[in-house]
Subunit: 322 residues, 2 copies
């Protein structure tokens, strides 16, 4: 590999509540190597940072480059991201209520510049730059996984508000509704987030409702009900899984329609672990559930599944250092 | 008056479901004359246009200028506004489901250029340019009156989406909730719009609940329950009026909080007939009702009542021809 090419190699890390996805990309965002690890469920931010370094090194190895060859590494993180790359209140991650200097820590370990952005916004930016959002100047990204995150492109640019825009999962779909993992009531995520769906399934199962979900979990030896387990249960005709999945799609339709009534974007991109797993048929069902609530119902936005799939967050993170 | 000054005089018309408010302003948006008329409740678009011309001529007279002296007239209109100044689907106006060439008609009558914009967006633009929104680069306008309309300023510019952004009144606050005048279910406007509040009051009154609202309406000889009637009933301790008013504030808090969670603006401005009538204490109550739903609850946006009061829509309309 020539020195010129080597300089343009970048790393990207998508830090999720369940998975750490890493990529090494070239100057054209082409993936040269990728790796995936599990997010530690115990410990604290340093343990998570260590897992991020290990998983990135695997992608570096697959790409056939050296860690020092990367001109920079971008990170998409949940929680509140400071301009200095610190992260606080990442409540889906273990022991991460307070502030942790993530960029500084990773930079020290990796020996290269590290920039941190909001996980969902970088995934939206990636879909806008090189994914399904390319034809549009306004875009709403909806990332359905552990929780439900949102990202906005307005007039061709990312819109972050005062730093916390895009919390579509905490738009209220039902006043006095179900308690959300965030502690509030009636949020879209209270019905559609995978953590909330699992809690509801467990609660109903304990009360005697039949379901395969937890047998499948045991069989697959997973710490949580993954998107794959939900898919298997649905394919097997599991009634409780179907009920909770349908309810999630309904809440997504309501919340996304509300967002569309407010900002009227050209397109909505559906990503995240669940969104990517269930693909375009799932995006189509969300659109159907949006329709009864759309104010301009004869002109709905395009609703497409994320083109970059599971890798969008990591590719978007790498764009932070492009 | 010198010819120079005369050339810079502009007209503005705020076309509401209940009132037509007109202004004549100078180059610095100072109001030289204003007038208010009732929106016809019967007939069709031409009758409404005639009433607009009459009401504007009254403002022109008060300003001591001549109609021909105006360099242009701007109109803030409900419904779907075309680029040519046509208006369709203005469902709060009589017989206005189809398309009507409003700019062309008014221009013919008045002998000057006419531009038409969205009523709520021009009111938001006015608050942004010369009202309470001046210190901010992002702003959500919430206009609480006959219905509930919204306007957006993003990154210092009006955001119209594909032409229909700002329909905050039709964000869903309660899935499977109350039927809205728009025909959908659970919209914020189903609880907070004055038309919906009146319908609910009438329904409950017929079923036997006590209220002064309709006696006050008769006494004041009004075709509808105006903001003033609601205020009088609340001041008299009317229980049904209080219940419906509180429910409206609750729905406003929920819907505005959802909007803030999505776009995270610096400020929210509360206007419209109800908002202006009940003033800053009402804006403060809406903020209190927002708080349980705000995702970043330690950093709420500023929530202020519209500084331009009832005239903001007409002044903002005049800005269309500035």
């Amino acid at each position: 590999m020539s020195p010129r090419v080597r300089r343009k190699v970048r790393g990207g890390i998508d830090l999720g509540g369940t998975k750490i996805q890493t990529v090494v990309v070239d100057s054209k965002h082409k993936v040269l190597g990728e790796a995936r690890g599990e997010t530690p469920l115990e410990g604290g931010p340093q343990d998570v940072a260590d897992a991020m370094v290990i998983t990135l090194r695997e992608a570096v190895e697959e790409a056939g480059v050296e860690t020092a060859a990367m001109s920079g590494v971008g990170v998409g993180s949940p929680g509140a991201v400071g301009e200095d790359g610190s992260v606080s209140e990442a409540r889906n991650l273990p022991g991460w209520e307070g502030m942790f200097p993530l960029a500084e820590t990773l930079s020290g370990e990796l020996g290269t510049a590290v920039r941190v952005g909001n996980d969902v916004q970088v995934a939206t930016d990636a879909e806008f730059a090189i994914g399904v959002g390319q034809p549009y100047k306004s875009l709403l990204g909806v990332f359905w996984g552990t929780g439900v995150g949102g990202g906005l492109i307005i007039d061709g640019k990312p819109w972050l508000g005062r730093g916390a825009a895009g919390e579509i999962g905490h738009m209220v779909v039902k006043e006095d509704g179900k308690k959300c993992p965030c502690g509030r009531h009636g949020c879209m995520e209270a019905y559609a987030g995978r953590i909330a769906m699992e809690a509801e399934a467990r609660h109903r199962h304990k009360k005697g409702e039949k379901t395969e979900l937890f047998k499948l979990q045991e069989k697959k030896d997973k710490p949580r009900l993954t998107s794959g387990i939900w898919e298997d249960a649905l394919n097997d005709g599991d009634k409780l899984a179907k009920h909770l999945f349908d309810r999630a799609i309904e809440a997504l339709g309501t919340g996304v329609a509300s967002a569309v009534n407010l900002i009227d974007p050209e397109a909505v991109v559906i990503g995240g672990g669940m969104g990517v797993r269930f693909g375009q048929p799932c995006a189509d069902r969300i659109l159907e559930e949006m329709k009864p609530h759309l104010f301009v119902d004869e002109n709905p936005p395009v609703v497409d599944v994320a083109a970059l799939g599971d890798l969008g967050g990591a590719i978007g993170a790498a764009m932070l250092v492009a």
